[in-house]
């Protein structure tokens, strides 16, 4: 699964694993198993581009984002930012990393502190990690608020004075204030109303062009990912089952799970209903994932070897990788 070092990649993830121990007993805690939340994933994000991560709940999307934000330490594998392993960062280097990588979360009602003014929320990444004067801080906040479509005067307001779409703009402003190189977008629009979603998605696209910032977009809505992402990874039970450029993936999905996801995605017109694979059952537990290919119990094309042997990732066309015995 070794991926050739990509020179233009901003961030590279190599064979990343995160296992959470499952323990039993109170005093003499015994580890009785591991939740294999992320199990050997590799991908890279280019400067100024977006990688979409799709999959159902429990597939490891959020754990991946936490590992990238260094909120969790990986069990195995490397995350390289411009060629340097982020897990070796300490002290000043780590502080610098924290301003380089930022996040925007799903729910702008819970991600913004209700007791802080917008100015303090937005400038927090600067104040905590960099030495800035009050004047520099205020100027930067005013600038970034205007860039996300708010007024500089609104810096003194509290979050409750804003609507959902505006709150998400505040969250975006806070992520942008320190000129990050990468922003992790964890379901950035799914808590917003339909007519507001397009506003925020367009804003994110515009800012990407303006700042040349990279995004890791975590979403379950395939249409959102198609609109935002340059490359898309499909995850199932902690593993990337298919990875390709977005247009390639959407026109030529190969893995049965990817095809099932597309079938389950809702059509944009009643005449476009296409359900070639309808999955039965639910995602199995990541504590005891199925043997061989993890998708085999739900796969309509499962063959005898699928339950015995884990498929090896294959590059079927340049940049299009799939892990399935069918290919």
């Amino acid at each position: 699964m070794a991926v050739a070092t990509n020179n233009d990649a901003l961030l590279e993830v190599r064979n990343l694993k995160k296992y959470f121990p499952v323990t039993k007993g109170l005093v003499l805690m015994k580890t009785i198993g591991y939740v294999q939340a992320v199990d050997g994933i590799s991908f890279s994000i280019k400067q100024g581009e977006t990688v979409g991560l799709v999959g159902e709940s429990g597939c490891g999307k959020t754990t991946t984002s936490k590992l990238l934000l260094r909120l969790e330490n990986p069990t195995e594998g490397d995350i390289l930012l411009e060629g340097r392993d982020i897990n070796t960062f300490r002290g000043a280097e780590l502080q610098d990393y924290r301003t380089t990588v930022q996040a925007v979360f799903q729910d702008p009602w819970s991600s913004l502190s209700p007791r802080m003014r917008v100015r303090d929320i937005v400038s927090e990444p600067l104040v905590v990690n960099r030495n800035v004067t009050t004047q520099e801080k205020n100027e930067r906040v005013a600038e970034v608020l205007q860039q996300v479509g708010l007024h500089a005067q609104q810096a003194t307001n509290y979050p409750h004075e804003f609507s959902g779409g505006q709150r998400q703009r505040i969250a975006v402003a806070s992520a942008l204030v320190s000129y990050p190189k990468l922003i992790v977008l964890d379901e950035p629009v799914s808590a917003l109303d339909v007519s507001i979603r397009a506003q925020v998605m367009n804003l994110l696209k515009d800012l990407q062009e303006q700042y040349n910032v990279s995004y890791l977009l975590i979403a379950h809505n395939l249409a959102t990912v198609r609109y935002m992402a340059h490359e898309t990874a499909v995850m199932y039970l902690g593993q990337i089952v298919e990875y390709a450029e977005t247009e390639e993936l959407y026109n030529n999905a190969l893995h049965p799970y990817t095809r099932a996801l597309f079938s389950a995605a809702l059509p944009s017109h009643p005449d476009l209903i296409r359900e070639d694979i309808v999955l039965q059952g639910e995602v199995p537990s990541p504590i005891n994932p199925p043997s061989g290919c993890r998708f085999h119990p739900r796969c309509p094309f499962a063959m005898p070897q699928c339950s015995e042997e884990a498929p090896v990732e294959k590059e079927v066309s340049p940049g299009h990788r799939v892990s399935c015995h069918l290919y």
Binding site: M201, L203, Y227, S263, A264, L266, I273, E282, V283
Partner: protein, 347 residues
């Protein structure tokens, strides 16, 4: 509003329904004069953004508007030929569950965590059936089997936390259908579910509908769900239905600027779009509605007339009408492929 004739197969007819919420500060016009009808075996989608009055409409149909602040102030709800607004609270108990029932959004909160599934199912079944314990038990097993719960005999003793989200929502469905109502209101039943589980659930509802001739009112903000499930659509904005019609008419020839904008602002799975159209601004507060058309401040085709009076309804096709001054009786429709959205700004 076109006059709705009570056809023989019409199961529910709503005429000029108004539900207001009276607070000390203001009167919130949550539902402000809506009319629609529903035929047997039909699925009607009510689409709109949050705060447009979708859920209040649903609660009004069950006469469960929160009291004392909320009140149905005007209109008729004719269910199976009788106006339920004329019924007493005792009579309503026979209507709820047996004639009309509801599936809520989040199965986690609509099931009671301290009772078993079997217990909650038998309670619902007990509304219509008073039988001995063993026959109630077999009815509960049948109800679970109908919603494709595997090994229903064993599942009866489970508590809600022992089931997955998809399973719980099936149980909620089984409870809603336990007294064989003619109408079910599904209020965003799949938003809490994963996509592959959502598809399973939507297909299940369709199967049950085909078997039993159930009429479903689907309340959602997701046009994808509408495209997948519904026969007809009513689009709500700020307490009113601004456009309704056959699902294909709405998707192919949306007439109201709000419907057009909404459909255009959703990213498409099937094609890549360079830039999404986005509607500026936000919906008005229901406590402080503008005179005239409620969409006027956000509308790209706005004229002076729009601020003066609420637009009259134009019949566009059989059963397809929209409330907009920009339309006229000779409207021919704009196919969505040709409909070029006015250049929007992301703000």
């Amino acid at each position: 509003m076109t006059a709705v004739q009570t056809a023989t197969d019409t199961i529910l007819e709503v005429n000029d329904l108004k539900t207001y919420i009276f607070t000390r500060a203001a009167t919130v016009k949550a539902v402000d004069g809506i009319s629609f009808n529903l035929r047997k075996g039909e699925t009607l989608g009510i689409v709109g953004e949050s705060g447009c009055g979708k859920t209040m409409t649903a609660l009004s149909l069950l006469r469960l508007v929160p009291k004392p602040a909320g009140r149905i102030v005007e209109g008729e709800i004719v269910l199976n030929g009788e106006d339920i607004l004329q019924k007493s609270e005792d009579e309503m108990r026979d209507v709820r569950g047996r004639q009309i029932s509801m599936i809520l959004q989040d199965p986690q909160t609509s099931l009671n965590p301290v009772f078993t599934i079997g217990n909650q199912l038998r309670e619902a079944l007990g509304i219509a059936h008073r039988e001995n314990k063993s026959s109630m038990l077999s009815r509960a097993v049948d109800a679970l089997r109908k919603v494709n719960v595997a090994a229903p005999e064993r599942r009866l003793d489970d508590y809600p936390h022992q089931m997955s989200g998809g399973m719980k929502q099936r149980v909620v469905g089984a409870i809603a259908m336990s007294c064989e109502p003619g109408v079910i209101i599904a209020d965003e039943p799949t938003t809490a579910l994963d996509v592959t589980i959502q598809l399973q659930y939507l297909r299940l509802l369709k199967e049950i509908q085909a078997e039993t001739g159930l009429a479903i009112i689907f309340i959602t903000h997701d046009f994808g769900v509408v495209a997948r499930m519904c026969d007809r659509v009513a689009v709500m904005y700020a307490g009113r239905i601004i456009e309704q019609g056959d699902v294909r008419d709405i998707f192919s020839r949306p007439a109201h600027p709000y419907t057009q904008a909404l459909i255009n602002s959703v990213p498409k799975l099937e094609q890549s779009v360079d830039r999404l159209y986005s509607i500026d601004g936000q919906p008005p507060l229901l406590s402080n509605l503008p005179e005239g058309c409620r969409f006027a401040p956000r509308c790209p085709y706005v004229s002076d007339q729009c601020y003066e009076a609420y637009p009259s309804s134009y019949q566009l096709d059989e059963g397809h009408h929209a409330d907009c001054w920009a339309l006229d009786a000779n409207w021919q429709g704009t196919p969505i492929e040709e409909f070029v959205p006015p250049t929007g700004t992301a703000g």
